[in-house]
Amino acid sequence: MSAIQNYEDRPWMDPEAEPFIKIQSVSKLFGDFVAVDSVDLEIYKGELFCLLGGSGCGKSTLLRMLAGFEMPSSGSIMIDGANMTDVPPYERPVNMMFQSYALFPHMTVEKNVAYGLKRDGIAADEIGKRVEEMLSMVELTQFRKRKPHQLSGGQQQRVALARSLIKQPKVLLLDEPLGALDKRLREQTQYELMALQDQLGITFVVVTHDQEEAMTLSTRIAVMDLGRFQQIGTPTEIYEFPNSRLVAKFIGNANMFEGRVTENSPDHVTVESHDPECQFYIDHGMSIQKGSKVWIALRPEKINISKEPPANGNANVIKGMVHDIGYLGGTSTYRVQIGDGRIVEITSPNQVRPKDGTPPIDWDQEVYLSWHASSSVVLNK
């Protein structure tokens, strides 16, 4: 890393930066059930932070504690320097966009959007002006007199967004904001959401179970499981340097091999695995015990597939047989059977156009799988 650092886009790396939201050992119990288990989290101003995890992992509960709908069983929540732990929702400087949108069915679009300002006792003409602005920003001006049930799913989503943004909250909480949209609309809306966030500079905390959505949207992601954070980091960190098998499998695909550390020196590590019989050579050192049990994660796109054995030695290579090929146009997915019958998945770009339409690698062909010494990730849990 260079001495001159620009922290503007990465406030979490700035040792001087003060976190905007500070969650300190917050737990939430429903009866005996621990929904959120003593989590710590710091989110910085202007971030688009994603809470990612499977269904029931406690992400909505954490978000609802930020909004004030659930009181933490223990721990504290600070927002912009103020302790929010016991502040009721109607007094918090945050707003929430609900998974169901929760639009008031008996009010028009205009009234829905104006509701927050009305509760703040703002003058009528000021409200009118701001609602007008907001509606034009989300391109709903011509629908202002409609009731929610007269709108499409995408339009309802934009009303919900407009309503939660109109009070210019310090933090906007979004629970599965794109969950109810179809795939095409979801992708388009992702970018709109990012543009909007950039334009307004409001801190967003987004809950999602969709890892692609989290990767596209966020500055940082917290991967949650069983009420705890498994890993917090940028999309790249989480994808390239997962800290556990759970994270590696949850974000994208990973081929997993079990083995033992056979050599541990400052500039490289070797791991030996027995099924399949394979030597992994990793070109950097790490703090790990020799002889300890580890797992190697290999991303499908980081594996080379070839008919000839690779030139450099016999580490980082496995022999196998092509079991299945999925041709996707731009890339192909190969499912290769190795030693004991396990399947390894490889994705590889189709850079060369096959001459007579027959692919260079065919079904039931013997192939060599190889990867760069920096590509495998060593995991110890």
Binding site: Y90, M96, A102, F104, P105, H106, K145, Q150, S164
Partner: protein, 279 residues
């Protein structure tokens, strides 16, 4: 053909069902225009019993009393039933919630004679100890009706609240509405159709009731069902047929009116949608 057979079967079923439902009513209407004083003997067409009816002060008094009881009852039952429904659904699991919920629906399954008898006992005991109610009549019947019809309203409100997503209320709270504001801005407007339905149900239940009213009524307070029952007990009477015909007419008009209002609302909604699409 198979379908032909089936449709014939369906048709005769419908005819039979309809006949079963409507022949008695039809007979009642026909006999109300019977000139003869003896009901089952046809003595020619006449409207004289309607004349008799309109001159009877007794009948008018009972109609007025019934309507008065029904409307006061409906208002109180709606108020109390709504509060009970809100408490049961929205205030989480407070202590004794299950008991409260069971107790509130008890009047729905309690035999009416028992409800009537126990209320009568209550009024007598009250009079013994605090001197109220000094006479039974409008007050006691209304109170008795409120106790059982509010249970029905509470059930309607409960089911409507349970179907109403709680996140609407949370959304309002999130946007800065305090609890009372949430109630007036969100909960009550969305409950309004349920409350109207509850009011109408309470009103009808009260108009309908003979048994409980008979128990808790006193001398001089005769509701319409009580009047009809007491007269018919002494034999069929043509003027009561006329009265029943008028009631049927009133109900029919009510149903048609409701259908018409609903139809108009539907049209209005379609129009709104079209207009907003054009703009």
């Amino acid at each position: 053909m198979n379908t032909g057979k089936r449709s014939k079967f369906l048709f005769s079923t419908i005819c039979f069902g309809m006949a079963f439902l409507y022949i008695p009513i039809f007979l009642l209407i026909v006999y109300s225009f019977n000139a003869s004083k003896i009901v089952p003997v046809w003595g020619g067409f006449s409207t004289r019993w309607y004349g008799v009816l309109f001159e009877s002060e007794e009948i008018w008094a009972s109609v007025a009393l019934s309507l008065k009881i029904a409307s006061v009852n409906a208002c109180f039952a709606t108020l109390l039933g709504t509060l009970a429904g809100l408490a049961l659904v929205r205030f989480g699991s407070f202590k004794g919630r299950t008991l409260f919920s069971g107790m509130i629906s008890a009047p729905l399954v309690m035999p009416e004679v028992i409800t009537g008898l126990s209320l009568l006992l209550l009024f007598i005991t009250l009079k013994e100890f605090i001197g109220w109610p000094d006479s039974r009549g409008f007050n006691t019947i209304t109170i008795a009706h409120i106790t059982f019809s509010m249970a029905y309203v509470a059930v309607i409100i409960q089911s409507r609240l349970a179907g109403m997503a709680q996140d609407l209320e949370e959304a309002a709270e999130d946007l800065g509405a305090r609890p009372f504001r949430i109630l007036t801005d969100i909960t009550l407007p969305l409950l309004a159709p349920g409350m109207v339905a509850g009011w109408l149900l309470a009103f009808t239940l009260s108009l309908d009731d003979l048994i409980i009213a008979s128990f808790v009524s006193g001398p001089g307070a005769v509701t319409l069902p009580m009047l009809i029952y007491s007269r018919v007990k002494l034999g069929l009477r043509p003027d009561i047929n006329a009265l029943a015909t008028i009631i049927i007419l009133a109900v029919a008009i009510g149903v048609l009116l409701a259908a018409w209002i609903m139809f108009r609302q539907q049209k209005q909604r379609e129009l709104e949608l079209k207009m907003s699409e054009e703009s």
